[in-house]
Symmetry: C2
Subunit: 405 residues, 2 copies
Amino acid sequence: MIAGWGPVDRSGLTEVEGGVTAAQGFTAAGVISGVKPSGRPDLALLAADEPASAAAVTTTSLTKAPSCTLTERHVADGVAQAVVINAGNANVCTPDGEAHTERLAAATATALGIRHEDVLVMSTGVIGVPLPVERIESAIPAAASALRDDGGGEAAQAMLTTDTCTKQVAVRVTDERGSCVVGGMAKGVGMIEPQMATMLAVLTTDAPVDPVVLRSLLTGAVDETFNRISVDGDTSTSDTVALLASGAVTEPPGIEALGRGVVAVCAELAYAVVSDGEGASRVAAVTVSDAATTRDAEALARAVATSLLVRAAIHGADPNWGRILMAMGTAGVAFDPRRVTVRCAGITVCRFGVATTFDRGQAAAAMNRPEVTIEVLVGAGDAHATVLTCDLTPEYVEFNAEYTT
Amino acid sequence: MIAGWGPVDRSGLTEVEGGVTAAQGFTAAGVISGVKPSGRPDLALLAADEPASAAAVTTTSLTKAPSCTLTERHVADGVAQAVVINAGNANVCTPDGEAHTERLAAATATALGIRHEDVLVMSTGVIGVPLPVERIESAIPAAASALRDDGGGEAAQAMLTTDTCTKQVAVRVTDERGSCVVGGMAKGVGMIEPQMATMLAVLTTDAPVDPVVLRSLLTGAVDETFNRISVDGDTSTSDTVALLASGAVTEPPGIEALGRGVVAVCAELAYAVVSDGEGASRVAAVTVSDAATTRDAEALARAVATSLLVRAAIHGADPNWGRILMAMGTAGVAFDPRRVTVRCAGITVCRFGVATTFDRGQAAAAMNRPEVTIEVLVGAGDAHATVLTCDLTPEYVEFNAEYTT
């Protein structure tokens, strides 16, 4: 992954196969319910063998999907046993949206023989079109029959919308106390702006974790990863990240190591979402350091990463640091432009607020790569933060002008 | 102009020729200083025959241009006699930026034989490139010699950067007490986001107005016009709007009529800026009504008008009201989606949060025009606000990826 992104400390982590079913105690499946006009798989199901410890964070949007409110309600007791995900229709601003979400949860509970309150629901796709709920309901038994302990890949496929590839990862976490697996899957790739949670992601672990601890692990990891990415500054109505812990392993690692694993999986999935951002041709990690506080660093990095002019310059491989300073000016954070140093792709283009005599051709060549770093030193303290974005391309605009309601 | 934009009350206003020199007591000129590589006019000068009552608002950016700080300082006493505007170089994040701005003011004062403190400076163009101050200084006497009482058009030409056309307007304001003229000129057309002031604009009037009243008229008008437009959500480092009143007419209209004139000129110039927005192919007026407060209405309209996904949909003439509801969810304003009605180009596409059975082809045809209205009724009260934006196009991205630092 790109320099500056993700956890600094990866000790005891090794990547493994299997995504969301890499952890023991989980099965998954992806089937076709017929909601996507393409006829591709569009119904994903994840199930835990037993009721699992669970946590979830959902969108901050006030236009909140019924799936988000149901998931919040069902996860409030810290226990869940299944996540049902339909793609192609977000079931937002639709007649009977709440009732239809309840029906998806009920059908899943019946098919699996589990409690209705232990089912979480995620829906993604078009807003405002009535959900073909019967179609999905009648496909749920098939999904339940298809559950396999190596079904993570199929589930990751079935949750996609405009994504061009699946997004899944798993790591084995080992310390002196024991070992467990943390895995996850996610989908993007438009309406991506970090406000509490972003897009859909499901993580699993086979470590036994108390729900309160699980929630704190998840929110901490989400704050550092999914909440620090931006594709287009638009916050979805349906953003949800859930983490289920089966407790299937008997010698788990300590909570600190587990936390590293959760952050690493979230960071990898968040990176995959940005990298597959609609129309994106490169990923940019904007790191602001030497800031007075982490909050300042994050606000400045976010202002730079969400500026259309900066993102267009990144697309053009243009070391246009004037736009970076301009964007920082809008962050609501006090800083002295005369102390600011900017590096594009490792090349110092501005020192103490004034242009260096850098070689423009060399800088443009260094920026013309799939991964670009933008480093800003503000000279005000020791705090830092990285926000991940992608370039703004004509293809993004064309895609979203053509994409029908 | 597009429905919903600008002052509702235009009584007593009639359009006249002459832009910034339409009002008595002002002369203007536009000359070539050689800063623009194109060799086009790039130095505009506006002068009042006598020290004039003056007010100005400048950018809220913390990366504030030296021209903005000098202008704020020089207008603080409510008096100004000249505005010197150089285009092609913003003189922001440059060595000796403050000193160079002072030199432009000093050279203007000398050439006109007026007080240094009565010169306002505006600079627009590239950020971070040292200002060729000698070149501009040596062109200022030529600009002073070229001042003419019909020079408004030349000045309007010389202040442009990536604009494709001049932006000037003037109106005669008449009521039962008397008459005066209000005129103005502006330049856009990127880094346009309303935060206090937007881009450069100069207004003149020949009414005699106390500086305190003038300031209140200007800030009120800017809040309703320039502060409600957005091209790309990026706030410039150099935004400045200035208004000079010569007092040359002896029978002016009342302050209320004058206020209507100032709002009308600001609205027309702001419309021209959005209409010439980089890459824009159409203008959209987003009006939120039935809101609890004007602040709510403005925040909701702004969220819709600045959403990339909404703006891409407008480009595609797509009545994608789901994206509108999505964007409203991020405005930080409480509202009930089930009470929301949305009209695109006059066609009701969503009523009480649910799709109507509108004809999609008809709606797309109605939206495929140079001016589009998006009306949102939130069902929470009587307040309303309109924010003006343009569509997001592949051309915007291409242009800003290629535009060099």
